[in-house]
């Protein structure tokens, strides 16, 4: 018990140190503004992809409308900030909550059925949201888009730092929530649904409840990502949240490995960065995505983390098993050899 607490404390300090270090690097422009911006967008993409991973990777229910949830979160946050002068933090949370309500409403009928019905329903949902956003011009600015969403701060020095810090905090929170959920009894129940729904039900797992829970949480996280996106970008257009965007998130999840948190984080940042450095290829860069996907499916169908035995990186495990003496002994092969 005490050891667990110690492990958690050390892990927390490492995360805090990472936060101060990276934010500091951004503040002193060691990481230049351009890179910081890519990292921030990457972080937002990772957050939403993690949400998608929960329902598609861990629960095994394919969802194709996460750009729709992102849109709901983004527009809710923007409207709250612009029309009602709500502060940024509660506005982002509200974006997530409204998105979760949509998730619940869609999940209730769609998740009653077995199979790929959720994919079809979410596909429709994404498109419906986009069309609604185009036509609801009072709140969303219609097809011309919504301009002038106030940023986190107008100060040019602090702007990239604050965006980066905010995404860092939310990303870490989402990772902790997902990780703690998955590595627990309810998490195992969720994974058992992916493995065998009928057996899970027969083992006393309320399959419908956990599907709904996972999908609602997934929608909440995607809405959160959208909520951060709105003030960061300052401009929203319904066509940003098209079907292609949903597929981008799915590619991140598949590439990282279904049901692997570490993989999603790596693939999310990796693909976002790749998209930026390949800008000179213009539209041809869109070919790169599918190409990577095809190659991955041919050589490592389990995704990126398949190279590492499909085990994700766990900070707490690392801390728990980290033993300075062991490393020291390894440097003295004579001593280690004796035993």
């Amino acid at each position: 018990m005490n050891k667990d607490r110690k492990t958690n404390l050390i892990s927390f300090l490492i995360i805090l140190f990472g936060f101060i270090l990276t934010t500091g690097l951004v503040a002193f422009r060691v990481i230049d503004e351009y890179t910081a911006q890519i990292l921030t967008i990457g972080g937002i993409n990772v957050i939403i992809a993690l949400g998608l991973n929960l329902i598609s990777g861990f629960t095994g229910q394919l969802a194709l409308g996460h750009a729709g949830f992102m849109a709901v979160g983004a527009y809710t946050t923007a409207a709250l900030i612009m029309k009602l002068n709500v502060p940024i933090f509660p506005a982002i949370l509200a974006g997530g909550l409204v998105s979760a309500v949509f998730g619940l409403l869609i999940g209730l009928p769609a998740l009653r059925l077995h199979g790929d019905y959720l994919a079809i329903v979410t596909l429709g949902f994404g498109e419906i949201i986009r069309v609604i956003m185009v036509n609801l011009s009072d709140i969303t600015g219609g097809p011309a888009g919504l301009k002038g969403i106030p940023p986190f701060t107008t100060n040019f020095f602090w702007r990239p730092v604050l965006s980066f810090a905010l995404v860092y905090i939310f990303l870490v929170l989402v990772i902790i929530i997902l990780n703690n959920l998955i590595n627990s009894s309810p998490g195992r129940a969720i994974i058992s649904i992916r493995e065998d729904e009928i057996a899970a039900n027969a083992m006393g797992i309320n399959v419908f409840y956990f599907k709904i829970f996972a999908f609602t949480l997934s929608a909440f996280i995607a809405g959160l990502g959208g909520g951060i996106y709105a003030p960061f970008f300052g401009y929203l257009n319904p066509n940003m949240f098209n079907f292609q965007k949903s597929v981008e998130f799915l590619i991140i999840v598949v590439l990282g490995g279904m049901g692997n948190i570490t993989g999603t984080v790596l693939a999310g940042f990796g693909l976002t960065y790749l998209q930026e450095i390949l800008r000179f290829l213009k539209d041809y860069r869109l070919v790169i995505y599918p190409l990577i996907l095809v190659l991955m499916m041919l050589f490592q169908p389990a995704g990126l983390m398949g190279f590492f035995g499909n085990k994700g990186f766990s900070l707490t495990r690392f801390v728990r098993e980290f033993n300075p003496k062991k490393i020291f002994r390894m440097k003295n092969p004579g001593k280690a050899g004796e035993k």
Partner: protein, 263 residues
């Protein structure tokens, strides 16, 4: 004391009456066999009893945790498991890509005494309960000699071990009635012999009432106290093993009718 009672259950699949007017009464501590030719409706009955199918007519009464019979006809499978009736599957349905330990731990989920809230915040109750679950699952695995394999993926176990793991997983739900669907399928005579001993052992140790489907007559005749024979969805005979072995209707159902012209 009656722990499970099925009254006149019938089920229709389209125009096909897969089970008609099936009656069953299980007394506490009984070991009953359900046999019949392929397609007789044995597994369908299991699926009705465990809530996978809702019967077209008839009702099922199950003894819950509070010792009184309760109507569970329209219950979902997880609710029935929660009341203490667990099952195994004819075609092995393990969580193949998870470890042996996780397979068993999943079955303890509805007995877990912490909520999602506890697990996300990693409250002390979480650590305490996780330890208890792990200890209990390891104990169960030890009984079946699977303890040292607890970190292996279920799909990497041998066939016999997978069959055993199915039983462990069902036991982890803490049942008082256990339904075994062809537990000896695909086993050699020696393995079947071991399985018989094991079934007798767990029945005593966990105070179980067992209903089992099996084609292996040695096993059925060897351990069942009572046998129910099913053909074309109807009960054609029931009684003690010795009576069943001599019953002409049973022999006819299994071996077919002699041609009347030849007789």
């Amino acid at each position: 004391m009656t722990v499970l009672k099925a009254e006149n259950i019938s089920i229709l699949f389209g125009g096909l009456k897969a089970v008609s007017n099936f009656n069953l009464e299980l007394k506490a501590g009984e070991l009953v066999g359900l046999i019949g030719p392929n397609g007789a409706g044995k597994t369908t009955i299991f699926n009705i009893l465990t809530g996978v199918y809702t019967p077209t007519s008839g009702s099922i009464l199950l003894q819950g945790r509070n010792d009184s019979l309760q109507n569970v006809t329209k219950f979902q499978p997880y609710q029935i498991t929660g009341l203490g009736m667990a099952r195994t599957f004819q075609n092995i349905r393990l969580f193949k890509n998870l470890t042996v330990l996780d397979n068993v731990r999943i079955a303890t989920h509805f007995n877990t005494k912490y909520t999602i809230f506890h697990s996300i915040l990693r409250l002390p109750a979480f650590y305490k309960e996780e330890q208890r679950i792990k200890r209990r699952c390891k104990e169960l695995l030890k009984i079946f000699d699977l303890e040292q394999k607890s970190d292996e993926l279920a799909k990497n176990l041998s066939y016999g071990e997978q069959r055993k793991l199915e039983i462990v997983r069902a036991l982890a739900t803490n049942p008082h009635i256990l339904l075994l669907d062809e537990p000896a399928a695909g086993m050699n005579p020696q393995e079947t012999q071991d399985l018989m001993e094991l079934i007798k052992f767990i029945k005593e140790k966990f105070n179980l009432t067992i209903l089992l489907i099996e084609h292996d007559m040695n096993l059925v005749m060897g351990i069942c106290q009572r046998i129910i024979v099913l053909d074309y969805g109807q009960v054609i005979a029931q009684g003690k093993p010795a009576e069943i072995a001599k019953n002409p209707r049973v022999i006819k159902a299994y071996l077919g009718k002699e041609n009347e012209n030849d007789a």
